[in-house]
Assembly symmetry: C2
Homo-oligomer: 586 residues x 2
C-alpha cells in the first residue's frame, strides 16, 4: 500500500485539516437542514475554507524537479490532443473555431484553475466531447440561420454557466461520491476507445485530403511514434539502468518522441515530399475569423436566446460527469494525496470559464479524463523498492522483485500554471510556426498512446486477462479467484455494455446513468463479497470525500472502505501501477 | 533441465547406439592412424553406420501432430526468405536466376537431404550468402564475357562439389566440435542483423522501383506484419488460454499473419491502388531464361574452367561453416535429441547437391542458419509445467511460475520431405499465381521477424541486458554475477567485433576465424572460471559429438561439459527458451 510517510512536508496544521474534513456532512443533521439542495453554497463555502490554508504551500511545495518534468509532459499530453480536436472542429464548424481559439481556451482554463481552483491537479482543457458538441450545434443552427452561430454558442455558454452555478451552489456534486471503479473504469475505457478511433480517423483523413502518399506515410509515422513513446515509458517502469536515467527517459518520452518524429517527417526525399497535413495556423493572438474577441451576444433574437437554453443545460450535464470524474480520477486512491479536494467550488469555477469562453467565442474547456490523472501521476514521486521474497530453496535463491510505491505527490499549483503559460507562449508567432511543422501523424500517435494508456491499464483489461489466464498459473491468493468466473464475466459485460452505450449515444449521458446502475442494479446481481472483490471506490481519500459530504452508503453493501480486495492485493504484491502507456499488473 | 524421460520411443536397440557412439574417435589411437586426414572416408562410414538403424523409425516416428505444424511453419520460414533473396539475385544477375530456379533448388535440397541425409533436421535451402556470391561472380564475369556466366557458374559448382567431397572424406568436419556459443551466437547475431537490414533494403527498393505510395504502404504493412507474428508467437510462450490453443496460434502465426496481410494488401481503394511489388513469376517448371535445365558445361573454354576453381574452393569454405553451424544449432544442447548426427556424410551430400545445382544452373543450396534450429524447435514437444516455489510468507502465497521444458523432439524425415513436396507444389502454375499475389512488404516482414528472432534471443543480448540491469534486482544466484562486469563487457565486445568483421567482409570467412580465436586467444583473456560462466558448447549431446570424434579439448580449460553455468542456471529457473520471435529469458 502506498505509504504517505515519506511525503513532502505539508505546512498547514494537521488539526485544522482534521476538523475541516468532518465539517461538511449531512450525516447527523435532521430536518430541512438535511436537504442538501436547500443549503445554498454550503459545499462551496466549506471547499474554500478547507483549502485556503494550503494556498501558500501550494506555491512553496512546487520547487522540485518533479514539477519541471510534469510541466513538460503535461504540455504535450494536454496540447497535442487539443490541437488535434481543433483540426476536426475547425473543418466542421465552418472555420469558426481555429487553433488560436483552442489555445486561448486551454490557456484560460489553465490560468483560472491553477490560480483559483481548490484542486489544481485537475487539468482542464479541450476535449473531443466539446468538439462533437460544437459541430453538432453547428449542423443544427445552419439549417435555420448560419450567421447566428457565434451568438448562439455564446448564449449556450451563458446558460451553461448559470446551470453550473446552480448545481455548485445546491451541493449537487455530492453525488459524485457514488462513483466507483465500475463507473470510472467504464468511462475511462470509453474515452480511451474514442481516442484510439480518433487517431484512426486522423489517419484516414490524410488519405482523403492529402492523397495516398501522405496517408501511408502518416500511418507509418503514427505507428512508429506510438512504439517509441510506448517503449520509452516501458523502460521507465523496468529495472534497467539507474532509476534516475530510466525515469528521465519516461518523463521526457513525449519530448524525445515528438522531436524525433517531427524531424523525421522533414527529412528531404520521399518523407518531405509526401506533403502531409501540418497544423494550420493563423495570425498570432487574433481570432481565426475576422472578428473581435467579444461576441455581440446582445444582438441575438430572443427566440434564439431561449433556444440555446436546453443546450446550456446539456453542456452542464456533460461537464457534471466529465469534469467531476476527471477530478476524481486525478485524486484517485493510489495517489497519496494530503491536501483537501473541492468539487463544489471547482464546478462553480467551471461555470465561470464556460461563461468567459461563451462570450469570447472559444470552445468551452472542462476537466480532461485521461490527462487529469496523468498530471497527478507525473507529480507523484515513485520509488522502486526491492522486495526480497525468501523461498524455501535455500540461500541465494530468494526472489528479488521490484515493487513500485507512490511515496508522495507534489501537490501544487505551479505545474498547471506554467503549463498554461507555455500554451500562451505557443500562441505567439514564432512558436506557432514551430507548431506548423508538426505532421498530423504525430497527433494520431498521441491519440493512440493516450488512448491505449487509458484502455490497457483499465481494470476491465486486468479482469479480462485474469479470465483467459490458464488456471494453474494464477497465484492462489489472487482475490479474483473468490468470485466465480461467470460473475467476473458478467461484471465485465456490464462495463462493456456501458462502454457500448457511451459510444452509441456518443455522449456522456450514458456514462451518468452508470452511477444509479451501480447503486441500485449491481447489488441485485452480485453478492456483497463479490462486489468487495470486483469493485472499489475510485477515490477513498478522506481529504477527497470531505468535499463530497463523507463516504457513500450503498444499499445492502459492506462499508465501501472495506472493498477493493483486488486492488489491495495487487498493491501489496507489486506496488501501485503508473498512469503510463497501458502498464498492466500481471 | 530438459528431461528426455517422456521422449517418443525410439525403436532401435540402445546397445547399438552406445557402441557406435564411441566407435568414431582418435583419442586412443597412435601412429599414422591418428592423423584424421589420412583416414579417408572413416567419418562418412561411421556416420552412415551409426544412423542407418534409425531409418525406419525416422519414418514411423513422424505420425504426430507436431510434424504437421512443423511442415506448415517451415514452408513459410524457408520459402519466403528464399523468394526474397531470389528477387534480389534475379535483378543483379541479368535475370539468370529466377523464382523457378530458386524453388527448384529449395525443393531439390529438401528432397535429397530429407531422404539421404544422416541429420534430416538440418533445413537446406537458399540463403543471402549465395545470392551475394552469385551476383558478385556475375559482376566479375561480365567484365570479360557476359555470355559465359551460366557455364562458369556450372564449373564453380563442379569444383565446389569436388572440394566438398575431399573435405568430407578427409574427416575435416571434426573441427566443428570447437564451435561454442562464442562463435555460433556471433554468427547467429550476424545473420540476424543481415536479415533485418535485408528487410529494410526490400522496403527501400519499393520506393525506388514503385514510387512513394508503394514504398510507404510497404513500410506500414511490413511493420504490422512483424507485430502480428511477434504477438502471436509471444502468446504461444505466455500462460493465457489453454496450452493447445496458444500453441496453435504460435504454430500457425506465419499462416495467419501472411494470409491476413496479403489479403489486406488487396483491399480495393488506397491499398490495392498502391501497386506494390509482387512476386514476379514465369512459366511453371521452365527455367527463367530460354534454356534447357542442363547447362552445356563442356562448351566452356579450358581457361575459364580453371578460373572457376578458386571460386569453387570459396563456396566450399563458405558452406563448411554455414552448413555445419546450422546443422550444429539444429542439434543444439537444449533440444533433447536421441538420434545420432552425421556431419561428414551430410557435407558429402552437400557436395552432391552443389554438383546437381551447378549443372542445372540453379543457385547452390546449403544449411540455413536461422531456419535449421527453427525446424528442430517446431518439432520439439514443449511442456509448460507449473513450478510452485514455496515462500516464507505462509500459505497461499507461494509463487507460481511457468517453466517450459523440452520433453522430446519428433526426429524424423517426413517434415523436411513434405515441405519439399510443398515447394514442388508451389512450382505448379496455380500456386505460382497465388505466390504472385504476395507483396514484397510481407517478405520484408519475414526478414524482420526471422532476423529479430536470431538477434533478440541471442546470448549477446541476454548478457547485455544483464549488464544494464540495476544491480539490486538481479537474483543473487545469477552466475553472471561471478564474472566482473568489465569481463562480461569484454566478452560481448569480442563477439560484436566478430559480428562487425562478418559485416565488413560480407562473407562467412570472418566467422570461420572465430573458431581459432576462441580456441587460442580467448583463454588468454579470460580465466577458466569466467569461461565456464560465459561460454558453453553449442551442442553437447553425445549423439552429436560422436560424429565429430568426441568432445573437444580446449587448451588450459576445464572439461567443456562442465561449462555453461549460465545456461544451466537459466534452464533450472525458467526452463528452456524457444526459437521464437526473440524470446529472451529475463
Amino acid at each position: 500500500m502506498p505509504s504517505a510517510s515519506g511525503a513532502a512536508d505539508i505546512s498547514s496544521p494537521p488539526i485544522e485539516r482534521e476538523r475541516s474534513a468532518v465539517s461538511y456532512t449531512y450525516d447527523n443533521i435532521k430536518g430541512w437542514k438535511n436537504m442538501r439542495l436547500l443549503r445554498i453554497g454550503r459545499g462551496v463555502y466549506h471547499d474554500v475554507r478547507r483549502r485556503l490554508p494550503y494556498y501558500c504551500s501550494d506555491i512553496r511545495d512546487a520547487w522540485t524537479y518533479r514539477t519541471v518534468a510534469s510541466i513538460i509532459r503535461m504540455y504535450f499530453v494536454n496540447m497535442l490532443p487539443a490541437i488535434a480536436y481543433t483540426l476536426d472542429m475547425n473543418r466542421r464548424t465552418g472555420q469558426f473555431y481555429g487553433i488560436n481559439e483552442s489555445l486561448f481556451s486551454s490557456a484560460l482554463a489553465a490560468m483560472v484553475f491553477s490560480v483559483f481552483a481548490v484542486q489544481p491537479l485537475t487539468i482542464v482543457g479541450i476535449t473531443g466531447l466539446i468538439s462533437l458538441f460544437n459541430y453538432t450545434i453547428y449542423d443544427i443552427v445552419t439549417i435555420y440561420e448560419p450567421s447566428i452561430y457565434p451568438e448562439f454558442m455564446c448564449w449556450v455558454g451563458i446558460w451553461g454557466a448559470i446551470f453550473h452555478w446552480i448545481v455548485a451552489l445546491c451541493n449537487m456534486c455530492d453525488y459524485m461520491r457514488y462513483v466507483t471503479d465500475f463507473s470510472s473504469e467504464t468511462f475511462g475505457f470509453y474515452v480511451g476507445t474514442i481516442y484510439i478511433s480518433k487517431g484512426v480517423e486522423e489517419l484516414i483523413s490524410e488519405f482523403t485530403t492529402k492523397g495516398h502518399i501522405a496517408g501511408f506515410m502518416s500511418c507509418m509515422v503514427a505507428i512508429l511514434y506510438f512504439l517509441t513513446i510506448y517503449s520509452l515509458e516501458a523502460i521507465g517502469s523496468s529495472t534497467v539502468w539507474r532509476p534516475g536515467f530510466r525515469g528521465f527517459l519516461a518523463d521526457y518520452a513525449y519530448v524525445i518522441g515528438t522531436i524525433f518524429w517531427v524531424g523525421f517527417s522533414h527529412i528531404p526525399g520521399p518523407l518531405q515530399s509526401a506533403n502531409v497535413t501540418r497544423v494550420p495556423i493563423s495570425k498570432a493572438f487574433y481570432p481565426t475569423q475576422p472578428r473581435g474577441w467579444l461576441i455581440q451576444f446582445w444582438e441575438l433574437d430572443t427566440k434564439w436566446v431561449f433556444a440555446a437554453l436546453p443546450f446550456g443545460f446539456l453542456i452542464m450535464l456533460l461537464f457534471y460527469y466529465d469534469h467531476n470524474v476527471s477530478s476524481l480520477t486525478a485524486q484517485a486512491r493510489h495517489f497519496p494525496l494530503r491536501k483537501p479536494a473541492g468539487f463544489h467550488w471547482d464546478f462553480f469555477l467551471l461555470g465561470c470559464t464556460t461563461f468567459i469562453a461563451g462570450i469570447t467565442g472559444i470552445p468551452f474547456p472542462n476537466g480532461l479524463v485521461p490527462q487529469a490523472p496523468v498530471h497527478t501521476d507525473s507529480l507523484t514521486v515513485y520509488d522502486t523498492e526491492l522486495r526480497i521474497i525468501p523461498t524455501e530453496e535455500g540461500e541465494g535463491s530468494e526472489i528479488r522483485r521490484p515493487v513500485i510505491s507512490a511515496v508522495a505527490v507534489v501537490e501544487q499549483r505551479i505545474s498547471h500554471f506554467v503549463m498554461g503559460l507555455g500554451i500562451i507562449g505557443t500562441m505567439t508567432g514564432p512558436i506557432l510556426v514551430v507548431l506548423h511543422t508538426m505532421p498530423s501523424a504525430v497527433f494520431a500517435g498521441v491519440f493512440f498512446i493516450v488512448g491505449w494508456g487509458s484502455v490497457g491499464s483499465s481494470g476491465i483489461m486486468r479482469k479480462a486477462i485474469h479470465l483467459i489466464q490458464e488456471d494453474r498459473f494464477v497465484q492462489r491468493d489472487e482475490p479474483l479467484l473468490k468470485v466465480r468466473s461467470r460473475k467476473v464475466m458478467l461484471w465485465i459485460a456490464c462495463q462493456l455494455i456501458g462502454v457500448a452505450a457511451c459510444v452509441a449515444i456518443s455522449e456522456t449521458i450514458a456514462a451518468i446513468a452508470l452511477i444509479p446502475f451501480r447503486v441500485w442494479i449491481i447489488p441485485k446481481w452480485f453478492s456483497r463479497d463479490e462486489i468487495s472483490v470486483l469493485d472499489d471506490m475510485t477515490a477513498d481519500n478522506k481529504a477527497v470525500l470531505a468535499s463530497l459530504g463523507g463516504p457513500p452508503h450503498f444499499p445492502g453493501e459492506t462499508h465501501p472502505q472495506e472493498s477493493g480486495l483486488e486492488r489491495r492485493y495487487s498493491e501489496q504484491k507489486r506496488g501501485v501501477s503508473r498512469q503510463r502507456a497501458g502498464s498492466i499488473h500481471r
